[in-house]
């Protein structure tokens, strides 16, 4: 299957980010990730921003290969720019961004050249909250709380237990901080500097 097609074989990641955790709360979305970039087993970079705003309505969080995340940001930049050029009063919301990224990730996977990331897309448009996830093989879904990587095993049980529809901002932040603390204890590639948006 891979004979002669070396340039299109699956890559392996070099500089990677660890988990991202996100929840819906009463007024919107909260997302958290640490600021570490690991290089194999070395915790090499400690100030990488893995949560970025996209357009007016969306937050994108990524774990996995950072260079692929930086490339995704450039794709989205173009997407948002073209959307703004229409100047029609409409702007891309989280659902649209999620759909676009799902297509990109799935198509790359089909060509055996994946973007080695798990992405969390969250946002609010016209009062409607949205929180979704897509990973490098194209699996995508949306839910009230999502996590990537080890966060799925460590944070989601906490969230399943303690999440409810009507979390205030403070309760939400405390809940996410609790998840990040557990990840710091139990994930060897976590660092103790976090971004929370």
């Amino acid at each position: 299957m891979g004979s002669g097609a070396d340039s299109e074989r699956t890559l392996y990641p070099y500089v990677t980010g660890s988990s991202v955790v996100a929840i819906k709360y009463k007024d919107g979305i909260l997302m958290a990730a640490d600021m570490g970039g690991s290089y194999g087993s070395t915790l090499r970079y400690k100030s990488i921003e893995r949560l970025k705003p996209i357009g007016k309505h969306t937050l994108l969080g990524a774990s996995g290969e950072i260079s692929d995340f930086q490339e995704i940001l450039r794709f989205l930049d173009e997407l948002i720019l073209n959307d703004n050029m229409w100047d029609d009063g409409n702007s891309l919301g989280p659902k649209e961004v999620h759909n676009y990224l799902t297509r990109v990730m799935y198509n790359r996977r089909n060509k055996f050249n994946p973007l080695w990331n798990s992405l969390v897309i969250g946002g609010v448009k016209n009062g409607q909250k949205y929180l979704g996830m897509v990973n490098m093989i194209g699996i995508n879904f949306n839910d009230n709380h999502v996590a990537t990587g080890l966060g799925n095993h460590l944070a989601r049980p906490i969230l399943r237990d303690e999440w409810n529809e009507n979390l205030t901002f403070e309760e939400g932040v405390k809940l996410l901080e609790k998840c990040m603390r557990v990840l710091l204890y139990r994930d060897r590639s976590a660092v103790n500097k976090i971004q929370l948006k």
Partner: protein, 233 residues
């Protein structure tokens, strides 16, 4: 849910390279050893290459890959400077390096540190490791010898150093790495870039500080031997 494939440990790259910002510019430093397996092919190589008048790059990893990338970037930057009508910014240089590294990530094995000075942002250092990530940092270390320097920099680095403090730090760090890393050695080369221009410096072994278990170097044992002692029977 996520792929728990074995993340292969990064290839160790036979070099020590460092880039440090200081109050007014940047200092780049590197060792001078190029090895093919266990043999030292070049013990006085220059790993700090010029991209433009105000931007230099430290090369590590495969010598061929890093040279070709820096040659292409120099070529593109030259054209860019002509079209722009003024010196290229460090950010543009670093992003060109990133583009080549990222788009050819399956073929290249090279980690680079881009450093320079421009009139908009002053001194800047950008790390472009394997894979083509770009990270702007106040200081960057790379190459196999850098493994021995993470702790050192965590302790010794501070913001707002002077030019001499920064160069001293770089000299010290490279010589510490050379002491412990078999793939790093030779002399320490530094390049200082600021608003006034570029200064290249060169420090052979005898001008570097001595570390644990290292002895002062002499030309010959005879220089330090006094009168030979009589044998005791």
């Amino acid at each position: 849910m996520d792929h728990n494939t074995d993340i292969s440990a990064p290839h160790s790259m036979g070099t020590t390279i460092i880039g440090v910002t200081y109050n007014g510019g940047v200092v780049l430093g590197a060792d001078s050893r190029t090895s093919t397996g266990v043999y030292v092919a070049n013990r006085a190589s220059d790993k700090i290459s010029q991209l433009t008048d105000n931007v230099y790059v430290c090369r590590s990893g495969s010598a061929a890959d890093s040279q070709i990338v820096s040659d292409y970037v120099r070529y593109f930057l030259h054209q860019h400077t002509i079209q722009l009508g003024q010196p290229a910014t460090v950010k543009v240089a670093a992003n060109l390096v990133r583009l080549l590294s990222y788009n050819n990530k399956n073929f290249l094995e090279t980690g680079l540190i881009v450093g320079g000075w421009d009139k908009y942002e002053g001194g800047q250092i950008y790390g472009v490791p394997l894979g083509g990530t770009i990270v702007q940092q106040p200081f960057a270390i790379g190459g196999s010898g850098s493994s021995y320097l993470y702790g050192f920099f965590d302790q010794a680095w501070k913001e707002g150093m002077t030019k001499d403090e920064a160069e001293d730090l770089v000299k010290k760090a490279v010589s510490l790495a050379i002491a412990r890393d078999g793939a790093s050695g030779g002399v320490v080369r530094t390049v200082i870039i600021n608003s006034e221009g570029v200064t290249r410096n060169f420090y052979p072994g005898d001008q570097l500080p001595l570390w644990h278990e290292e002895l002062e170097s002499h030309n010959s044992l005879l220089d330090i031997l006094g009168a030979p002692e009589p044998m005791s029977i």
